[in-house]
Symmetry: C2
Subunit: 352 residues, 2 copies
Amino acid sequence: MPSSTPSQAREWRLISRPRNVPGESDFELVEAPVPAAGEGQLLVRNTWMSVDPSARLRMQEDTSQYLPAFELGGALEGWAVGEVVESRAPGFSVGDSVLHQLGWRDYALLGVDGGSRAAPELLPPEDDVPPREYLGTLSWVGLTAYVGLLDVAELRPDDVVFVSAGAGAVGGLAIQIAKLRGHRVIASAGSSEKVSYIREVLGADAAFCYRDGPAVEQLAACAPDGIDVYFDNVGGEQLEAALELMRLHGRVALCGAISTYNGEDRAPGPRNLFNAVARGLTLRGFLARMYAHRMLDFRDEMRGWLAGGRIVYAEHRYAGLEQAPRALIDLFSGINVGKVLVQIDDDDGDER
Amino acid sequence: MPSSTPSQAREWRLISRPRNVPGESDFELVEAPVPAAGEGQLLVRNTWMSVDPSARLRMQEDTSQYLPAFELGGALEGWAVGEVVESRAPGFSVGDSVLHQLGWRDYALLGVDGGSRAAPELLPPEDDVPPREYLGTLSWVGLTAYVGLLDVAELRPDDVVFVSAGAGAVGGLAIQIAKLRGHRVIASAGSSEKVSYIREVLGADAAFCYRDGPAVEQLAACAPDGIDVYFDNVGGEQLEAALELMRLHGRVALCGAISTYNGEDRAPGPRNLFNAVARGLTLRGFLARMYAHRMLDFRDEMRGWLAGGRIVYAEHRYAGLEQAPRALIDLFSGINVGKVLVQIDDDDGDER
């Protein structure tokens, strides 16, 4: 149970917009009195927060209509789980676990009416998974991998699948979901350690390190007969390579383009987009929130896989809210394997 | 009726692969004896041939798996209509009109077995449309416009539609089909005369000349609330502009990229492909032959529109087989409006 509520709360604010990789000086940790819940509100003590590449995009002024840009001088946001410490909202009690979007702080004041993005989701108390799983396998991260393959790329029997950023949270799940459905899977990552992890732990049939040579040559070596589906987390050179290797009526799920997020100028697109005409290819972009209606289907299927021990899911954890900017900065150095989480406070010691 | 068959036949051969816009010196007109039909073959006297941007692509060694490259020293190919002058194939008689893919010559020897690309299609004699209409409104050109909108871009009620190369054969039909279905249509072309034609004759709601200023600014002025569908005939800057103006869940039918066909290097793709992620956009390439199963539906609907006088269709005609290379070269100078055809020989004087 929580220790008695301290009088001071901390939150990370954005104080300058980075032009390239963010630095610690772009962030400021600010203390303020812990707020009190108003009518229809909850006060939540955050226990874990998710660190996502999308936060980097939201530090820019122009997010290309992705998610709203963070305000300069305002608190950052992101997925978090926590425990209700004060409730003036029906349906929520002190001690409940909730999932919400006001990470980057240790106390979140959440409205439950109006359906705003920040409306919290009550997590089932009887669940045998720790709440932070709702930042991972059972979260938007998992939904992204699931709908990216099944809905966006319209995965079909016998498709050969290529996944970039295969050691990342989304990519790692995409590899495993495709394998669980019986596909041949090729994946890429940025170090030989990650490549081993992808092959030996996640079960990809072939993998390559994109730093070792031209992506198109390495992909061709892994997929001599071509590919049908590309789950694109990175954009850039690997997207071009995938378009080169695509077979007739292949499909690309455009999930993100982390290789381009830190550039000041917008990177040019693939030089071989004409292949899409010649081969009848489909490139479809998506955000998981566009597939919110699939969350229950996804969680049902994922819970089955988790219960059967069929899913490997790595976490890269940082201890303490003060580590949050570092965790985001590290995301672009490629040192993390799996989902990047920051433990903000004790959550009753649930350990896997 | 045909004059008596001469003993010499002519065909255009490719003698060098152009690095930029093709020149007359890339082609050679070669005479040879008129062949005789073997068992299962037809000899056809060509009357009209179609000149398509795709011929430029096929002059390259690497066609990105579009259609087979023309062989150096071999005859060019392309859609043509003609009259059977000798038949040793069941189902075809002397005097029948046929549609086939061996243009660029005045006599075509066609096999009817094996389902090869060159297998001729018997045109209905009772039809009240001249045979060359099967190189135009009722052809793959029309099918391209039709399925590009309906199947590839999945046109939905109230979609705002943008069509590039709107004064071209495919673009002009795409504008009119979208208008016949009740959509707001914006189109672009390369001269003020074409822009007037698009607005005043084809009925587009707004149009701009892409040479007059940045495409993104001009498109934004024509579509202040954005667009939902882009029928892309050109690639390049206009594709980037369309992606910038696309609304949530917008769709791009990638039909061709004439702006890039003459470059020696492959042009970079749009710098704003990430918009596809943020807005859930779909880009889908296609060739009409991938939608051959829709030809009958299309012709039914198009015949109705033609009979009702609902379709304007311009032809840009060249007289004589010797003009064929010039017709292709001119395609890239932008002087043509509508479908480019070469009249190879008299077809009983059917004039519209």
